[in-house]
């Protein structure tokens, strides 16, 4: 734990944030990244091949 603590907040995000504005829409870069990452993750989850499982032919 002490080992982890010595590295805590390597890149602290305490400085004032950056914001993206488009007409009346306004969002912080951090939130935008979260949302974009969510959409990417969703799409990847849909498209990425799932490691195949051994099929059993019999019904249960």
């Amino acid at each position: 734990m002490a080992f982890l603590l010595s590295f805590a907040a390597l890149v602290p995000l305490n400085n004032l944030g950056h914001y993206v504005q488009w007409h009346f829409l306004e969002i912080s870069v951090a939130n935008l990244m979260v949302i974009v990452l969510m959409i990417i993750t969703f799409v990847v989850a849909l498209l990425a091949p799932f490691p195949g499982r051994r099929r059993r032919k019999e019904n249960r």
Binding site: M1, L4, L5, A8, A9, V34, L37, M38, T41, F42, V44, A45, L46, A48, F50, G52, R53, R55, R56, R60
Partner: protein
């Protein structure tokens, strides 16, 4: 005692109703239908695991009380874990929601599963919000003084006073987590009882499973 008397007992009736609903092979299955083969299925369990980390880190924060994390590096680190597990929790939960919507996972008598999921989502938003106003820092000062207007406008503010830090902390660490855990438990049990929703059949007419 006659058999009919035993039959009429509440306990007997309850036992007979639930009997067989959740045999061990359904509760802890060792097989899944072959259609359960996509990464989208991992986001339900990922949400649950994040909830576990949220609760675990919350319990560590609770050990030393609400002010501890302001003055201790260790406390602040646990707070960081608490925050990021919450972000991951909502991240996974929303993807889980999108995925289950795309599958119309309420089909085949699973409407209640969907509904407990939605209520868990709403309760989690409340749990997150009360956490933000319980931080006892500038952020919580601003959030609570802003949020009071919305909550007051519904009339609820008279009883759910977001400016009362003690009340918010109690909701955050007792009532809402309890709600989230119970609802998640119900949600998961229902999934185990009903099984994972099968794919859409692409013909118009099919026999209905009874």
């Amino acid at each position: 005692m006659s058999t009919s008397e035993i039959d009429r007992q509440w306990t007997t009736r309850l036992r007979r109703r639930v009997e067989g609903k959740l045999p061990p092979e359904k509760l802890l299955p060792d097989t899944q239908p072959t259609y359960v083969s996509s990464w989208i299925y991992v986001f339900g369990i990922a949400t649950m695991c994040s909830l576990g980390v949220v609760i675990g880190t919350g319990c560590i924060l609770a050990l030393r009380g609400p002010q501890w994390w302001h003055g201790s590096d260790y406390g602040h680190f646990i707070n960081s874990m608490h925050l990021w597990s919450v972000e991951i929790f909502f991240f996974c939960m929303v993807i889980h929601l999108w995925g289950k919507f795309a599958m119309a996972a309420w089909r085949g008598g699973r409407a209640l599963t969907w509904m407990t999921g939605v209520v868990t989502f709403l309760v989690s938003i409340g749990a997150g919000f009360t956490g933000y106003v319980s931080q006892s820092n500038f952020d919580s000062q601003w959030i609570s003084t802003q949020a009071k207007d919305g909550i007051n406008s519904t009339g609820a503010g008279a009883y759910f006073n977001v400016l009362n830090m003690g009340q918010m902390l109690m909701w955050h660490i007792v009532l809402l987590p309890l709600g989230a855990i119970v609802l998640t438990g119900m949600h998961v049990l229902m999934v185990r009882i009903k099984g994972v929703v099968p794919p859409f059949e692409e013909e118009a007419e099919t026999e209905v499973a009874q």
